[in-house]
Amino acid sequence: MSELVSHATDYEIVEGEPPELLGRNLNSGAHLFASATAFFFLAFVFAYFYLRSLNNADKWRPKHIDPSLAYGTIVMALIVLSALLVRIGLLQHRAGRRAQWRRTGVVALALGIAGVVVQVIEWTAIGFGPADGGYASVFFGWTAFNVLFTIGTLFWLENIVATSLRYRSHATGSPAPGEASGDPGRPGHDISDPLSLVRPGLESLSFYWGFVAGLGVLSWVVLYLI
């Protein structure tokens, strides 16, 4: 028998893992996902400039294709503001001001949702359709996928805010193991002190949300200003 394992195949025991390791995982995962996101939107940047340079059949951007700068600016501003608030929330959390962080988190979530809603309103009021040339195609495709990524990130933010709110009255200690896993039959934690993961989660989210907001600024520049 190897000295690395002595219990053989009937081993069913696992120790609670240290949250620091999971924090590192989250952090590297967020950076890697940001890289993947960048390459995803690179395809749309490529499409924009490629189709613009070709201007096939003079249909790149006919005269009437002109999205409202006001809507675009509002969407971008809401997302950037939300990302900034998450960053501020992280600083509040680090400083131990948990009640302030919870309020900031809720406001950041509301602003992000507002950004998505305004984007949907813009689509309905924009005055042209996806079939109206190359620019219109890129505009609708890019903004649609941007909204998908935004919703995914807001879901992550909601998870962290919800955990902070649910356990706001727990001064010390951890929730019951069943609560941690969503499996009421589970007798123990597989992460020791799972609530301590709120901070690393928030740090990773803050990075990724800032990255998505940066993409929002890029799309605003490319789609509305150039």
Partner: protein, 630 residues
Amino acid sequence: MSAVAIETTPPLWRRLIGFNLLTAVVLGVGGWYLGWFIGHQVAGASIDYFGDIDQNDVAIFCGYIIGLLGFLIGLGFGVYPWSRMRGYPPSLREKETEGAGRYFGLCTDHKVVGIQYLWGIGLFFFVGGLNAMFIRMELLSPTSHIFPPGQYLTLVGMHGTMMMGMFTSGILGPFANYLVPLMIGARRMAFPRIEALTFWLLMSAGAILTTTIFFGGFPTGWTGYEPLNDQANAGMDAYIVFFALVGISMCLLGLNMIATIVTMRAPGLTWSRLPIFCWGVLSTAILMVLAAPVLVAVLGMAMLDRTAQTTFFLPTGGGSPYLYENLFWIFGHPEVYILALPGFAIVLELLPVFARKPLWGYRLSVAGLLGVTLLSWLVWQHHIFVSGINSDLRPFYMLSTELISIPTGFTFLCGLMTLWRGNLRFPVPMLFCLAWFFNFLIGGLSGVFLSDVPSDVTTHGSFFSMAHFHYTIMGGLVFTFFAAIYYWVPKMTGYMLNERLGKVHFWLMFISFNSTFGPLFAIGFLGQPRRAVTYAHTLQFLNDWVSISAFVLGFSLLLFLVNFVWSLVFAKVPAPANPWGSRSLEWQLPSPVPVHNFDRIPHITSDPYDYGEARGPVAVPAPTGVGGMS
């Protein structure tokens, strides 16, 4: 730190009506019909280019997407997000138990996921191989005699798409998922649920691709080129959803691998002690994380063209089909190395074991793997030399493509030098590794013809290029896939595969493989185009030779299947803990490996290739701690 049992077996009624594969299939089918219904409510029939099928692309896409969500919810993937949404804190593991049931549902044990991948990919490999047999049956005659041209095109497309799509995870799915945590001294992957998700996404993708036959198939081959993609009938939707899911699965798989290797290495496992297999996985994973999103994006555009009437790829609407071709190959060429690099890594990992020598040029090997990773981004336009690329760009892409043979050569050199003056043994895994040298050399040399613009112009659309990529992908990847199976299945299952049957399988496969694809170079030079169901009568002898060789190749794979089932189900010869005498960490554990791998996280004390030198064990248990990186 307290030790806790993590799972109890639920009662039978819960297992039957709870979250399991049965529920998943029911919800998946139900979801498909729901999506179909919703799609018909929000959109009328799409433009029907060929007029032979009543198609509504919006309904079909809605059906696939909602069906997929239903399938994943049925497996239990919705429970955790729902729990997190309500504010419950994170947890890591689910359903990590003993027993066969864990293989048929959501399980976060990396070893279970690895074995799920092995069977799942094996199943689709069989389907793809069967398509190849049908193709060669058709090509026994120079005129169309079994399948009409449309069906033949779908067969070719199904074969190529299935193989290229499913085999992107052919090594990382089964072997990296199973072995990387063991090789780096970890108990799990960084993101266990995502690991399980990648597998079930891939299986869903495979099932969706097969449904293309209900919608008339697709005529584009595995590349899905525009403008045919926009014009094709509803079977094309299955292709788009398939490859998009493969891309998502690939990206998440790569992300998980990188995070695991970067953050979860055991103490003492420095970068210079990392097994070369892990370096190969890391290189591949980098390509997966960065290339797959481009594929998903371009297929998203194709989906929008087919449903929302955008004009990304329609020149009359301000788009361009070349946009698709460029974006597809920005993904597609790294994809070639996503397929090839794990093969390099397996060969380099196994050679020292069977040569009883340290790996020659470890750092050079790593440089080779990373060099290929970098250069593979700079060559994509050689795929469109004959498709209208600006001729001023050709020299750059020709040179960059030829440059990539330098880091590839590093790998070759390191492998050969590891063999030099080694104390060689020739069990089945070693034979497959040696075959890789021969096959990949031919694949690589014929690739030079295709990277060279003048010769590419005459050979590109012919069977020459088909022979080339089968030599690189099948000769490079599939042979090493079998090397890995013969080498690591004893660790995964606890049983040895039959050596004699394995050797018969190897020789039959090696000879028939070369007899199948070697003559295709000649057929290509003589002018037979790819994807055409008819050919010149003068080429019938060569085609018949190739077809018969292909049937023998198919038979050799059946022989492998017989060996696999016989050895694991009937013979059940127990595998020694370390049958090959390897120094790698996974072989220091019992076979099969316990549920949570290590009682205590090991401390790595040397690299895994110190063969022939008087050294202590490769790892000892660390005094305390449950994880961490060096």
